[in-house]
C-alpha cells in the first residue's frame, strides 16, 4: 500500500516533520497515529514501521499504543462504519436489541467487516445524543429513536444504494 500511495506517505512524512520540529516530539505518537489512520483508514504494519523509523520510537511500543486505544483500527474497514451506541441511556432503551438485530442482519460480530467490505460494525459508548436514544451512527450521520425494524430498513436502503 505504502509504495503505491506516495501522496499519503508524503503527507504523513510532512506531518511528522512538522512535529519533529517541536520539543518532546515523541509524545505526539497518538496524534501521528490519528493522522495515519485518517490517511489510510487503518494502521498497517508498514505505516507503523515508517513512524517508528522517523520518530525514533520502538515498534513494539507503537504496537502497544495502537492496540491499547479502541479508536485505532489495525485492519481496513468497510465502506460504511456502523457504530451502535451502547451508552447507558441507549442501553436502558434497548440498544442491545438493536445491536443484535444488526449482527443478525449482517452476519458479523462487533469489530468485524462484512465479506463484501460494505459494512463494519462497531460499538461506541455514548455519542452524546441521549435524547434520541437508542442511537447509532453510520459514517458521520446519527440515526435516533431506533427500533429493530427501523434499523433493518436503514441497512437495506444503504445496501440498495450499493446496487
Amino acid at each position: 500500500m505504502i509504495q503505491t500511495d506516495d501522496v499519503k506517505l508524503t503527507e504523513l512524512k510532512n506531518f511528522m516533520a512538522e512535529i519533529k520540529k517541536r520539543e518532546r516530539s515523541e509524545s505526539q505518537l497518538i496524534a501521528i497515529l490519528h493522522k495515519a489512520q485518517e490517511l489510510y483508514g487503518y494502521l498497517g504494519n508498514d505505516v507503523m514501521d515508517e513512524i517508528a523509523a522517523t520518530m525514533n520510537i520502538p515498534t513494539a511500543h507503537i504496537w502497544g499504543v495502537a492496540t491499547f486505544y479502541h479508536y485505532f483500527n489495525l485492519k481496513p474497514k468497510g465502506k460504511h462504519v456502523i457504530s451502535v451506541c451502547l451508552g447507558t441511556a441507549c442501553y436502558v432503551k434497548g440498544a442491545a436489541q438493536i445491536l443484535e438485530t444488526i449482527k443478525k442482519e449482517l452476519k458479523i460480530a462487533i469489530g468485524e467487516t462484512t465479506q463484501d467490505r460494505f459494512f463494519t460494525l462497531e460499538e461506541t459508548r455514548c455519542l452524546g445524543t441521549c435524547g434520541l436514544a437508542p442511537v447509532m451512527m453510520i459514517d458521520d450521520k446519527v440515526y435516533g429513536n431506533l427500533t429493530s425494524k427501523k434499523v433493518v430498513e436503514i441497512l437495506h436502503s444503504l445496501a440498495h444504494e450499493h446496487e
Binding site: L127, G128, T129, C130, G131, L132, V135, V142, G144
Partner: protein
Amino acid sequence: MLTPLETVKKKRAEAINRIVGKGYLSTKRVYVGMATCEIAAGSKDVMEVFQTAIKNGLTDVYLSQKGCAGRCNLEPTVEVIEEGLVPVKYGRVTRDMAHQIIERHLKKGEIIEEWVIR
C-alpha cells in the same frame, strides 16, 4: 500602557461594536442550536432554512448559532428574541416548522404557542 483589565474592557467594547455591526440590534434575533446533539437531531437543516430566507431577502433578523442549552429531547431548538418581550423558545423544530416560524413569527409577529417550550 493599558493594564490587562483596561485592555479587556477595550476589547469588549470593540467586540460589541462588531456584533452590533452584524445586525445584532435588529428587532428579532434568531438562535439555532448547533451542538453535536442538536445537529444529530437535524438542526443543520433548520439553520439552512433561516440562512436561505435571509439570503432571499428576509430582513431585520440577526441569525446566530449557539451551543446546546440542554433540552435534549426537544432538539433542535430555536430561540427568537425580541427586545421588550419574553424570549420565545421553540423545540423539535423541523424544516417545515422553520419555514412557518419565518412566515408567522418573524414576518407577522405571531408566536406559535403549541411549539413553545415551557
